[in-house]
Subunit: 224 residues, 2 copies
């Protein structure tokens, strides 16, 4: 296909495609004339993944390049690819070393991180010990404890069970998608782009529950 | 209690408490000597709510002041208070006008926002029509459609049902908490501070599901 069709089918503008070509994010097309090239389905798939990594994960072009390299190196190992595109797994040797250093510099883990590992063990989740989400969960548990909230990792278990069911829906979204690049794109869409949607739906449901439980109702009508 | 005890029990430093007193976020204590004052439990409750709004919702002091004013005006209407502290409901007249203007300037709603309303209706959620979460959900639905993801509001219904169950857990966290200021603080902790924890648990569960479904396993051992 011509670059104009590639642009139309990917939703990426021609100038941006040219920029990606110059930057090596896309391999060159097959030259058909002095100033024309032909692009294939593989270009389209790769371009869609680039678009999603830039637009949804908001990654700079350099990081996208590293991820693309890492994805193709994995030789179709979908678990590795899922981890790389969703940031559960470091892409480059430098990143691996940086995370390792971070962990060592932190010295003893905070109580929150230890508690996060307890929760992971209680749920029977098998995860990479350096996965970024353990630190995020640990930070929240530390904050909850600093604030004497009375909410600890055990109180989060019912939430963890619902998170587990959400992740089952997530992997179902991968069904029927074939090809490594498509799966990588889908994984980013589902795991990253759905995050604000999940939080928004929780807020909407909270508002509904709060109205039912606490609501007087009389003022509602006027404000609508 | 003396300011030192107020500091110890709230986890807020004495200089910060003095700053809040000067700024009117806390009412003055009862003067007991030239340079000493006595603070009560009400000061402690108010200070804890201020600390949570500043530390967890990352609000500037001016906004916290408006929220405190709005919360006390609600005369114990917990549904209104829940909406105000979690940002489902505009606090000031200016904010109300700004949101209204935003809505009008946007003219026709985007397809995503219309779809978000469909989802809300399908779930039977009763929410304020201008609630911020509808716009957030609409933005994600627009992006999913722009990207030809094939994921629309109907595909999100199973997620919405789990979000509904999460919100049931959320309101359960309010049980046993009495007093308007305590409830307001709890609402912020549960609805805002738990957000990154929920997303982190989903990521951990995803990693587990991805390992089970796609994982080869051989490489895992070496990397741990």
């Amino acid at each position: 296909m011509k670059i104009s069709e590639l642009s139309r089918r990917s939703g990426v503008s021609i100038p941006t495609i040219k920029y990606y070509l110059r930057d090596g994010l896309l391999p060159p097309g097959r030259a058909t004339a002095a100033n024309q090239a032909d692009y294939g389905e593989e270009h389209l798939r790769r371009l869609r993944l680039v678009r999603t990594l830039v637009g949804v994960r908001r990654l700079p072009v350099g990081a996208v390049k590293e991820i693309l390299g890492a994805v193709t190196e994995q030789d179709g190992d979908l678990h590795q690819i899922f981890g790389i595109v969703t940031d559960a797994r470091p892409v480059t040797q430098q990143q691996k070393q940086a995370r390792e250093r971070e962990r060592q510099e932190a010295g003893e883990e905070t109580g929150g991180v230890t508690d996060a590992r307890e929760l992971v063990a209680a749920m029977g989740w098998e995860v990479h010990s350096g996965t970024a989400a353990i630190r995020s969960l640990g930070e929240v548990l530390d904050a909850l404890s600093d604030m004497d909230s009375g909410i600890d990792w055990r109180s989060l278990l019912p939430y963890a069970r619902l998170a587990d069911r959400i992740s089952e829906l997530d992997v179902q979204q991968m069904e029927g998608v074939s090809g490594v690049l498509e799966l990588a794109e889908r994984a980013v869409l589902v795991s990253v782009l759905l995050e604000p949607a999940l939080l928004a739906m929780r807020r909407l449901a909270q508002e509904d529950k709060s109205a039912r439980l606490f609501g007087g109702g009389s003022e509602e009508g006027e404000e609508e």
